[in-house]
C-alpha cells in the first residue's frame, strides 16, 4: 500500500475512534438543516431547488472545517508523533496528501449524509438534479479548499487553538475577498488590475457560480489550484521547520 493511503487510513481511523467524527457529523447535519429551513426559507420560497441549502455552506464550513483540520499537524507536533511519522520512508508531500485526503473524504461523508434534503426536494417538486449535483461538487471543492488552508496553518503551530483561529480568519478573508464592501474599501487605494485579482480570489464567487449549476472549468480549476497551492505551502512550512 502506498504511504499516502496508509496515512489517510490512519487519519480516518483516528477520527472515528475519538468523538471528533461524531460530534462533527451531528453538528454539521443539524446546522445544515436548521440553516436551510429557517435562515434559508426553504419552504416559503416555493422553488424546487437546493439554493438555500448550498448558500449556507460557506458559513458552515467556516466554523467546522477549521475544527477538522486544526489537529492535522499541530497534534502530531505536540504529541511527538511527528518525529515518528517523519522517520518513516515517505516524503512530506505524501504525508500531507494522505492527511488532507482523509479529512476531505470525511467531509465528503458529511456532505453525502445530507441526502434526506435531496430526497425532500425531489418529493416536493421536480428540481433540476444536474444543478444539485453541481452544487454538491462545488460545496465539496470548497470544503477541500478550507481544509487545505487549515492543513497549511496547522503545520505552523503546535497549538490546535491557534491553528483553528488562524484558519478561520484566513478562510473568512478569502470568502469575503469578492464582496462589494471589501472591493469598495480597497477601491482607490489599490490599482484596478489588483482589485480585479482580489475579486477573483474570492471563494464565494467561484462557489456561487458552481452552485447555480454552471460547472465552468475555470471555477473548478480555481478550487483545485487553491487546494494544491495551500498544500504545497504546508509542505514548505513543515520542511522549513526541520531545516536549521
Amino acid at each position: 500500500m502506498s504511504p499516502v493511503m496508509a496515512v489517510a487510513r490512519r487519519e480516518l481511523r483516528s477520527f472515528f475512534v475519538t468523538p471528533v467524527a461524531y460530534v462533527f457529523l451531528v453538528i454539521f447535519l443539524v446546522l445544515a438543516g436548521i440553516l436551510t429551513f429557517y435562515a434559508g426559507d426553504f419552504y416559503d420560497r416555493g422553488q424546487a431547488d437546493l439554493q438555500p441549502f448550498f448558500v449556507m455552506h460557506p458559513w458552515l464550513y467556516l466554523l467546522l472545517a477549521p475544527a477538522v483540520s486544526m489537529r492535522m499537524w499541530a497534534e502530531e507536533a505536540k504529541g511527538g508523533t511527528l518525529e515518528l511519522l517523519l522517520s518513516l520512508p515517505m516524503t512530506l508531500a505524501q504525508a500531507m496528501l494522505g492527511k488532507f485526503l482523509a479529512a476531505w473524504f470525511f467531509m465528503g461523508i458529511g456532505l453525502l449524509l445530507t441526502f434526506p434534503i435531496w430526497i425532500t426536494v425531489n418529493y416536493l417538486g421536480s428540481p433540476d438534479n444536474g444543478v444539485i449535483v453541481a452544487g454538491y461538487l462545488g460545496s465539496w471543492l470548497m470544503a477541500g479548499s478550507f481544509l487545505a488552508i487549515g492543513a497549511c496553518l496547522s503545520a505552523l503551530t503546535q497549538s490546535q487553538v491557534v491553528a483553528f483561529i488562524l484558519t478561520m480568519v484566513v478562510c473568512f478573508l478569502l470568502l469575503l475577498a469578492g464582496q462589494p464592501q471589501v472591493l469598495d474599501f480597497l477601491q482607490g487605494s489599490v490599482p484596478r488590475r489588483l482589485l480585479n485579482g482580489v475579486a477573483h480570489l474570492s471563494l464565494l464567487r467561484h462557489f456561487e457560480a458552481i452552485a447555480r449549476g454552471v460547472l465552468d472549468v475555470r471555477d473548478v480549476l480555481y478550487f483545485v489550484l487553491c487546494i494544491a497551492s495551500w498544500l504545497t505551502a504546508g509542505v514548505l512550512v513543515l520542511d522549513l521547520k526541520r531545516t536549521p
Binding site: 493511503m5 496508509a6 490512519r10 515518528l84 520512508p89 536549521p244
Partner: protein, 317 residues
C-alpha cells in the same frame, strides 16, 4: 552501518551538535553517552531524517540522509525518545499503520507483524488502546514499531528510560538478541546500561565528541582500574606494611565501613603482592576484590573536563 561525518546542527547561535564523526558497524551496539542536553537526541533525529543537519552528513547503510533520505529511512528502525505513538489507536491498528506506510508487501508485512508481536509478547494487548497501556508496554510497542520491517540498522533513543528494573532487563535482553547481525545505536545516560549492552561507547557533551572507546578501555582510565579492595573486620591491618610494597601508590580507607582500597602505581599489578602480604601477616580477610575501574568516575572526568581536556580517541573495537 551508521556513519556520521562532521555532523553539525545549530539552533541560532547555539551549537547543539558540533562536527561529530563516528561510525558503528554491524554486530556492534554503540552507546551514545552523555549528560542530559549533550545533543544525543539531536544526533539521532538527524540520522533519522527528522531534522536536517546544518553541516556535515550521516549515512545509514551507505545511504546519505540528505540525498537518499528514503533509502536511509527504509534501512533504519527508530525509537524516538519517550516512544511516541498514536494513543487513540489500538496496538494492532498502530502496527498495521507502520507496516503499511513502510510499504511492506501484504504477506511479508503480516508475517513480520506476527513475528514481532510474538517476540515482544504483545498478543494480549493487541486490541487495547495504546494510551491505556503501562509505560513498559508502550515502550515495547515502540520497539515493535522500530523492528517490524527487520531493519539492518536500529536506533533507540533512551530505550529503558523510566522503566522499572524488570522491564529494563527485558528490554536489554531483547536488544541483546537483536544485536548479532545488526548495527544498533542506543543513547543513554545510564552507565549500567553501557556495561549491560554496549560494546563501544561514544561520549559527547555540549555536542562535541569527547571519547570513542570500548567500555573496558574507558574503565582502564579510571583511577580504580587495577586497584584491590578488601574488608578485614576486627583486625588492625597495617597500612604501613601495605604502603611499603613497591607496586603500591596509595591507600584509602572508607570511613563508613572500613573497607580498604589499595591503588597500584601505573602499569603495576598488585593483587598477588597484596594477597601474599595479607597471608604472611595471617590476617583474616572476609572478601577481596580486584576493581575493573569505575565508569561513573571516568564519565564525570570526561564530561566535566576535570582532566585530559580535548577529544581523546582510542582504537575502536
Amino acid at each position: 552501518m551508521i556513519e556520521t561525518e562532521q555532523l553539525t546542527r545549530r539552533y541560532g547561535t547555539l551549537t547543539a551538535v558540533d562536527a561529530l564523526s563516528f561510525r558503528a558497524e554491524p554486530g556492534q551496539v554503540l552507546g551514545l553517552l552523555g549528560p542530559n542536553g549533550a545533543g544525543k537526541s539531536t544526533v539521532m533525529r538527524m540520522i533519522a531524517g527528522f531534522l536536517r543537519p546544518t553541516a556535515g552528513t550521516a549515512r545509514v547503510c551507505g545511504h546519505d540522509v540528505r540525498k537518499e533520505s528514503l533509502k536511509a529511512k527504509r534501512a533504519l528502525g527508530y525509537l524516538p525518545e519517550g516512544a511516541p505513538s498514536y494513543g487513540e489507536l489500538t496496538v494492532r491498528e498502530f502496527l498495521t499503520f507502520i507496516v503499511r506506510s513502510r510499504g511492506l508487501p501484504a504477506d511479508q508485512g503480516f508475517r513480520r507483524f506476527e513475528e514481532v508481536v510474538g517476540h515482544l509478547q504483545l498478543e494480549e494487548v493487541l486490541d487495547t488502546c495504546i494510551e491505556t497501556l503501562s509505560k513498559g508496554l508502550r515502550r515495547r510497542v515502540g520497539l515493535a514499531q522500530a523492528i517490524v520491517h527487520n531493519p539492518p540498522v536500529l536506533m533507540l533513543d533512551e530505550p529503558t528510560d523510566g522503566l522499572d528494573p524488570n522491564q529494563k532487563h527485558a528490554v536489554r535482553q531483547l536488544i541483546d538478541t537483536m544485536a548479532r547481525e545488526r548495527t544498533i545505536l542506543i543513547s543513554t545516560h545510564l552507565l549500567e546500561e553501557v556495561h549491560a549492552l554496549c560494546n563501544r561507547v561514544v561520549i559527547i557533551a555540549n555536542g562535541r565528541l569527547l571519547a570513542d572507546a570500548t567500555p573496558a578501555e574507558l574503565e582502564a582510565r579510571s583511577r580504580y582500574h587495577g586497584a584491590v579492595s578488601f574488608s578485614a573486620p576486627g583486625s588492625g591491618v597495617s597500612q604501613e606494611m601495605l604502603g611499603r610494597l613497591p607496586q603500591v601508590a596509595s591507600i584509602e580507607v572508607d570511613p563508613l565501613d572500613g573497607r580498604i582500597t589499595v591503588f597500584p602505581r601505573p602499569g603495576e599489578r598488585i593483587l598477588e603482592p597484596v594477597e601474599s602480604l595479607l597471608r604472611q601477616q595471617g590476617l583474616e580477610v572476609s572478601e577481596i576484590q580486584l576493581e575493573r575501574g569505575r565508569l561513573d568516575e571516568v564519565f564525570r572526568q570526561i564530561t566535566t573536563g576535570q582532566s585530559r581536556p580535548g577529544p581523546v580517541r582510542e582504537a575502536g573495537a
